[in-house]
C-alpha cells in the first residue's frame, strides 16, 4: 500500500516512476472512505468499459472508438426553465478544465436520454449547445458507436474544439436539454424531477497515455529540486 506521504513523494518524481506519477495525478486526494459514484453515469461507463476491454482489463481488438482515454463529465450546474406549452427545457453547465498538457481531445459528445418516462406521460428530448444570445444549431452527430440502450449521443467535437475547449484555464459549456411532451396530459411537477437525475452528460475522448508525459532527464530533475543533493550523488558517474 502506498501511504499518503509516500504518494506525494512519488508524484514529485514522475521521471523516475512515470506510472506512479500518472496514476497519482488521477487518484483522488481524499481517498479513505470515498464513495464510488453510482447511477446512470457509472452504468454508462461500465457499459463502455465492457465493450472495449475483457474482464481482465485487456483492451479488445475491435474497439468502438480510437481513443485510449474517455472521461465522463457530469454537469456542475443545472437550471430548469418554466414550461412553455409542450416544451420542457433545462440548461446544463459543464466545467471544462484540461488538467494535462498532453491531453489531446479527439472527440466530444453529449450522451442523453432521448425518452423520459413520467408516471402519466413521456417526453421526447434532444440536446444542443447553448450560447447566451443565440442558439447554435448543429447537424446530428454520427451514430457510429454502439451505445448502451436508452442512450443517444450528440457529437459536439467541432463545436467544442472551436469554441469552448480552452488552451489553458477553465471554460463552461452550456447545453440545453429540450424535451417535448408527447401526450396532452397534465405532467405536474414530475418533469423537473425527471430532468434532475442524470439526463445528460459530457463524454470526452482523448488520445494520450502516461507514456506521453515529457520526460526530463535526471540531471534536469535534480537541478529543479533544491533538496536533491542526495539524489545527485547517486547520479555521479562511478570511476
Amino acid at each position: 500500500r502506498v501511504h499518503a506521504q509516500d504518494a506525494v513523494a512519488l508524484a514529485q518524481v514522475p521521471t523516475l516512476l512515470p506510472l506512479f506519477g500518472a496514476l497519482l495525478q488521477e487518484a483522488p486526494r481524499k481517498s479513505p472512505g470515498r464513495r464510488l459514484p453510482r447511477g446512470r453515469p457509472l452504468q454508462y461507463m461500465l457499459a463502455l468499459y465492457r465493450q472495449n476491454a475483457d474482464p481482465h482489463g485487456r483492451p479488445r481488438e475491435k474497439r468502438i472508438f480510437s481513443a485510449n482515454a474517455v472521461r465522463l463529465v457530469s454537469p456542475a450546474g443545472r437550471r430548469a426553465l418554466p414550461p412553455r406549452g409542450p416544451w420542457y427545457v433545462q440548461t446544463l453547465d459543464f466545467l471544462l478544465e484540461p488538467n494535462r498538457d498532453m491531453e489531446q481531445l479527439v472527440r466530444a459528445t453529449v450522451a442523453y436520454r432521448p425518452h423520459l418516462r413520467l408516471s402519466h406521460s413521456h417526453l421526447s428530448c434532444h440536446v444542443e449547445p447553448w450560447a447566451h444570445k443565440s442558439a447554435i444549431l448543429l447537424e446530428e452527430g454520427s451514430p457510429g458507436l454502439a451505445l448502451p440502450e436508452a442512450w443517444a449521443e450528440r457529437d459536439l467535437t467541432d463545436y467544442i474544439q472551436q469554441h469552448v475547449w480552452p488552451a489553458k484555464g477553465k471554460r463552461v459549456l452550456h447545453i440545453q436539454v429540450r424535451c417535448q411532451q408527447q401526450e396532452r396530459t397534465q405532467i405536474g411537477l414530475g418533469w423537473s424531477q425527471a430532468l434532475a437525475t442524470d439526463t445528460a452528460f459530457l463524454v470526452l475522448y482523448f488520445n494520450n497515455t502516461f507514456k506521453n508525459v515529457p520526460r526530463t532527464g535526471l540531471q534536469e530533475l535534480l537541478l529543479e529540486n533544491p533538496g536533491g543533493a542526495d539524489l545527485f550523488s547517486l547520479a555521479r558517474p562511478v570511476r
Binding site: A27, G33, V70, F210
Partner: protein
C-alpha cells in the same frame, strides 16, 4: 567452447528453473487502490523468473550483448553475472477509475502485463 546446457539447481528440472513467464494475479484491493479503480477488480501483471541458460535459444529473443555476457561469465570473469530474466513483451490494461474531480475515466495504460520473457 560452450558447455552443454544443464539444469542450474540439482534436483530441479530445466523447465522449472529456466527463464519463463509465470502467471500472477493481484487485486486492486491488495494494492490499496480499490477506492478509485472501479474495474477491473483483478490485475494479472505476471512476472518472469528463472535462470538464463548458457546457450540462449532464439525463442528468448536475447540481444547479442547477452550472448557475450554469458561468454564473459563462462570464460573470463565469474563475477560478471549471467544475463537476467526479464519481460520482453508487454500488453496494456484498460482501467475504469474515479478522478479527483469526481469524473469517471476510462484509460488504457501501456506495458502493464508481461506477455513473454527474455534474457538480457
Amino acid at each position: 567452447q560452450v558447455g552443454p546446457v544443464s539444469s542450474e539447481a540439482p534436483g530441479q528440472s530445466l523447465e522449472q528453473t529456466q527463464c519463463s513467464l509465470h502467471p500472477f494475479q493481484v487485486s486492486f484491493h491488495q494494492l490499496g487502490w480499490e477506492n478509485w479503480i472501479i474495474a477491473p477488480h483483478l490485475y494479472s501483471p505476471n512476472y518472469c523468473k528463472g535462470t538464463c541458460p548458457r546457450v540462449l535459444h532464439s525463442g528468448l529473443h536475447s540481444p547479442n550483448h547477452a550472448i557475450i555476457q554469458n561468454l564473459i561469465n563462462e570464460l573470463v570473469d565469474r563475477s560478471v553475472p549471467r544475463p537476467s530474466c526479464v519481460p520482453y513483451k508487454y500488453t496494456p490494461i484498460s482501467v475504469l477509475l474515479i478522478e479527483a474531480s469526481g469524473s469517471i475515466l476510462y484509460k488504457e495504460y501501456e506495458d502493464m502485463i508481461a506477455q513473454s520473457c527474455t534474457c538480457r
